[in-house]
Subunit: 217 residues, 2 copies
Amino acid sequence: MHPQQELPKAPIAGVKHLVAVGSGKGGVGKTTVSVNLAISLARLGRKVGLLDADVYGPNVPLMMGTRETPMGHAERIRPIEKYGVKIMSMGLLNPGDKPLVWRGPMLHNVMQQFLRAVDWGELDYLIIDLPPGTGDVSLSLVQNALISGAVVVTTPSDVSLEDARKAVYMFHQVKVPIIGMVENMSFLNCPHCHERIDVFSHGGGRRKQARRPSASP
Amino acid sequence: MHPQQELPKAPIAGVKHLVAVGSGKGGVGKTTVSVNLAISLARLGRKVGLLDADVYGPNVPLMMGTRETPMGHAERIRPIEKYGVKIMSMGLLNPGDKPLVWRGPMLHNVMQQFLRAVDWGELDYLIIDLPPGTGDVSLSLVQNALISGAVVVTTPSDVSLEDARKAVYMFHQVKVPIIGMVENMSFLNCPHCHERIDVFSHGGGRRKQARRPSASP
């Protein structure tokens, strides 16, 4: 997208597959999908890492139930391990209520550190929980790392679908294949009468997928 | 926060009050609150503008039901008017599925244009629908514009509250008073049995507000 940044994408030593989990909009359950994907793959016997790339609102530590501080080891950072998944998140390095006030270029650097200076070891899958949207961090990551595929999470609401289309477009532009779309919050079963409630009107994710741009637009 | 950027905050000519609507996390209903706040104030007879500052996922046009393209007029851009509210959004200038691939410094410039090169005219309130989180655009806006007060939107979920605390901290740091916190999606009434469902467990927003840091931390 920015010609000066079309460097050859570099693989991460020891990591077989980089899978990005993205969304156009926040609050659609991207982190929930990332965490469940990581733990499920670990339970299937795969070696899995989970990189929380949402530096402004890192929710992976809370969802994984850890506040452990990662330790340095021979100029590399050791990820935290929980439920068989190796985790790295800005929420572990900068816990508490103080927001990170870093701007674009600093974010770019921290992501490169998270990818390359963390002691991930041998991994079958490194799941990257992208920040919402198509901003600086997402762009840097998808442009500079050799991502095997992307999962796009949406809800059936019109605003979420509007933004999910932008995320799909971004991945197509950088030639990252879309492995799948997850329609989250499709419905809710009432805990009282057990009837199904279509909170955001059901099926939008499927309609969107049918309309997604072809691989070579 | 960045000392080099502590310039004197400049008022916008003709605009009496700048009100920022922010959230730590996306998908909590920030745009819904902004749109309702703007239309409600307009119905009370106030002169109101609504600036959609979420350049990556601008949902104001969809929610306000307009796709009209703003026109230039004497080197200034004329906002679109709908429901008595003057609107400006990147979604009006860059419609469709193509994401904006601008980075930090360009975003900073577009926000200054949105504030100062748009023909807002005389306004009692200019509501700014901030992007989610405490990233580049939010920081630039709260540091450079004379904001009268901020509204922080959250849901009762732990992850939303975790991120809302960061937004509150950001506003305190730049001495923008918090006018109020809105707990959105507190509960849902089942359309079948009309029982109330606490989807994200109720009352977290109120508990959070009670714990918010004092005005001079």
